[in-house]
């Protein structure tokens, strides 16, 4: 039963990425399960405080549900990368394989996988973004150099992080996490994008174009993919909205 909770939350997470609510039929189509069973599951998930459910509106994730849904999406896409890049399995097959494996992948293995794949940011089949991890690191470099104690001692992130692409234009936010290799990190730091810096997105070009940001009194243009790997603390308002549903 636990597996199906994860599977549902992952599906809801994927659908609600664009900010819209997931309807019963969306989920029913995606998971190939009858609408009646989906409605029943929604009620159960709402009881357990994973989702907020209003019968005609569809569902959105709560903070707790969002964390789990994101985690499953992350494990799924990391596994896809692993299956594709390391094991050389065809693009069309990785999705189903990953679906079966994601529920048994421990968090510790998830981190190890991410490190050994050098912090991938996109999944191989549909180029979707791999969500960031929930560990309390500011950079991947820091994570890769962490070598004391057990995995269990690692702290989790206090606040949810979102990428610059998800940040609404002209809202100020603080850089919480930068994903990528040493070279990329060094370059970003040199340009002033150190963790903890306040930045403002002033413009996002359409069709996955570049992003213009203001920081330290000047303007920078970042490629869409670069911007997608810079994460800021989610502004409070969004969080509140999510809680309210």
């Amino acid at each position: 039963m636990h597996n199906s909770t994860e599977e549902y939350l992952e599906a809801v997470y994927n659908i609600t990425r664009d900010g819209k609510a997931a309807s019963t039929s969306d989920i029913s189509k995606r998971l190939n399960i009858s609408a009646a069973s989906v409605t029943e599951m929604f009620k159960k998930l709402a009881d357990e405080d994973y989702i907020s459910y209003s019968p005609y509106h569809g569902v959105t994730l709560t903070g707790k549900g969002s964390a789990l849904g994101r985690k499953m999406a992350r494990k799924h896409r990391l596994l896809e990368r692993f299956l594709h890049d390391t094991l050389k399995i065809g693009k069309e097959k990785v999705h189903d394989e990953a679906c079966a494996m994601e529920h048994t992948l421990s968090d510790e293995a998830e981190r190890a996988l991410c490190l050994s794949l050098k912090y991938p940011d996109r999944c191989p089949d549909d180029e979707k973004m791999i969500p960031p991890c929930d560990l309390d690191f500011a950079t991947c470099q820091e994570c890769s150099e962490w070598n004391k104690g057990n995995f269990e001692q690692l702290r989790k992130r206090q606040k949810e992080v979102i990428s610059l692409l998800e940040l609404k234009a002209s809202r100020e936010a603080t850089i919480a996490f930068i994903r990528g290799g040493k070279c990329m990190l060094q370059r970003l730091c040199d340009m002033g994008l150190t963790p903890g810096t306040k930045i403002k997105v002033s413009r996002i070009a359409p069709l996955k174009g570049p992003v213009e940001i203001n920081l330290r009194g000047s303007k920078l243009a970042l490629g869409n993919r670069v911007a997608g790997n810079i994460f800021v603390e989610a502004p409070d308002k969004i969080e509140q909205n999510e809680r309210k549903g």
Binding site: L185, G192, T194, R216, G223
Partner: protein
Amino acid sequence: MKHTSTSTSLKDSAEVIGNDNGDRLTLALVGNVNVGKSTIFNQLTGLVQETGNWGGKTVELKKGTLSHHGLQIDVVDLPGIYSFATYSVEEQATQEYILTQKPDVIINVVDATSLERNLFFTLQLREMGLPVVLGINYNDIANKKNIRVDTNLLQEILGVPVVDTIAIKGIGVHELVDAALEFLDKPVNNTSRLKYGIEVENRIDQLLELLDNGFPETPSRWQAIQLLEGKNPALSADDKEMRAIISNAEKLAGELVSMHGEDISTIIAAERYALAASITEKVVSRKEAVRKLSDIMDNIMLHPIFGYFVFFLTLAAILIVVSLFGEWVTGVIEGFFESIKPEIAGSAMNIFWNGGVIGFYAALIVAIGFILPFFLILSWLSESGYLPRIAFLMDRPCHTIGLHGMSSIPLIMGLGCNVPACMACRVMNNKRDRLIATFLTTMVPCAARTSIVLGLVGAFIGWQWAVGILFFQFLLIYIIGLILNKIMPSNSPGIIMEIPEYRWPSLKNVWRQAWFRFKEFLVIGVPLIVIGSVIIETMNVYNWLDYLTDILAPLTVSWLGLPAFTGVLLIFGILRKEANLALLFSFAGGAAITTIMTPLQMVVFTIVILIYIPCISTIAVLLKETGVKATTLMVLAEIGLAILIGGVAYRLLGLFL
């Protein structure tokens, strides 16, 4: 005045200009991209140099001589960089130059409007304990934005001389040199107020102490910080001692990492930025923020619809203005030479007039009518700050061929001349991107090739055909980009580029840049064209051309359907593309070109000329930038494409023309 040059011969870098001046002083200009460094360089040396306004256009070190109160001083302009992290070739070149050539004084130019980012680099220079004089540029723009920099306080904090400048007006430029000379007499080099966080400082001190024992040279903070960051600080020491120090540095770095919970390079960068921010806060006073013209302009220039509209309008306007101007210049120059044309009799006279004089004025037409206006417009755009905006707009379209917005700048520059455009491809710090962008750039119709399209097809068949051919060429570039992207998929993360304020360019500076190119063409291009033209005319007079044309006939006549003499043109066109048009005129011997070529032949000839091979100067640059193998491949690919497409065009377009 004291002459304290410490020039050393350069061992292992061909990139760097050596200080071979013996006892002359050397000043080196360093700073971020877009800070007006090159403008200061131009003001100081009066030497005409490329100055630009976008990521790393100044990729080569430039050297000029300044005569200052009777003193001869060498001035070197180093590439614009943001850091010494040795991430890019520019950073490496600059660091290497500074460390091996040891210029007497380093003039660090900073942008008053974004002091914080600029000071990040200044702090690195200060760590290295270098003799630095700071020039704060763009005070005029800062004033407009209600930003005031307290120069005296900044001088006090940084411990080095600070001079206010407005480079494009020449204000403060010579005061910078005065400050540098004064500095040499009485070095001020006080870093006591430049301290990072206490944890980092403690560890730097510990390392400095370790380094101090038994090393001949005085270690700098920078070397200690390099050690902390796990980098080789280029210290001479025997291995055993060095190993001990390195392991100590690792231990100290480990302590910092566990304290801050970040990796060491990030900690150091954050420390530098924190210090830069606190200095900026102290010295900069900002009145209420004004809504700047720059922001309002960007709402249009970077707009998802209007932005492209403005961009394409600009491009179209450039093409139209240049072709109209070129046409007018052609008429004037041709008219003049026709009016003084003497009686032509005998082979010597024929060679002199039809070869030499016509070759000369055809070259003049290209230079004055096309090259000069193109470079005037391009350097104006580059100085104004519009080019990074183009990179922003074109980033998304470039992604479809696996490149990013930066590469649109060499491609657009290629419209002027492929030679600087290919060199500009160096801004891409990824070999694959650089290779693809370079190849595509050589396909971009440069001013010379565009002049053939406009001067031949446009003038004799109609502008629709000229536009059609250019459109086809761009389509071809795009398709080749798609194919190359399939063969070599991209793994580049994308642009990280500063977007500068708009600036009203100094016309003097714009003129100097354009003049530089123009002069280069006059000196190298015109003689080449005249010589080529004389040789061809000589061969023509003595009927030697037939041998050459016979050899090429199967290709030119049978496959491409061109007149036999074009074989010679294609060969001489390798010297310079515009030579084709010039030589074509000399072939016609003053008569209209329509008498020696049909419209179809003109179109096919133009298409072949557009594609077939980069000119000799571009090939020279390609060899330097990409190596023998890649250059050979590119040249062969382009020859093959030209033959293929030309032949197909001959057969297909024959139905219409």
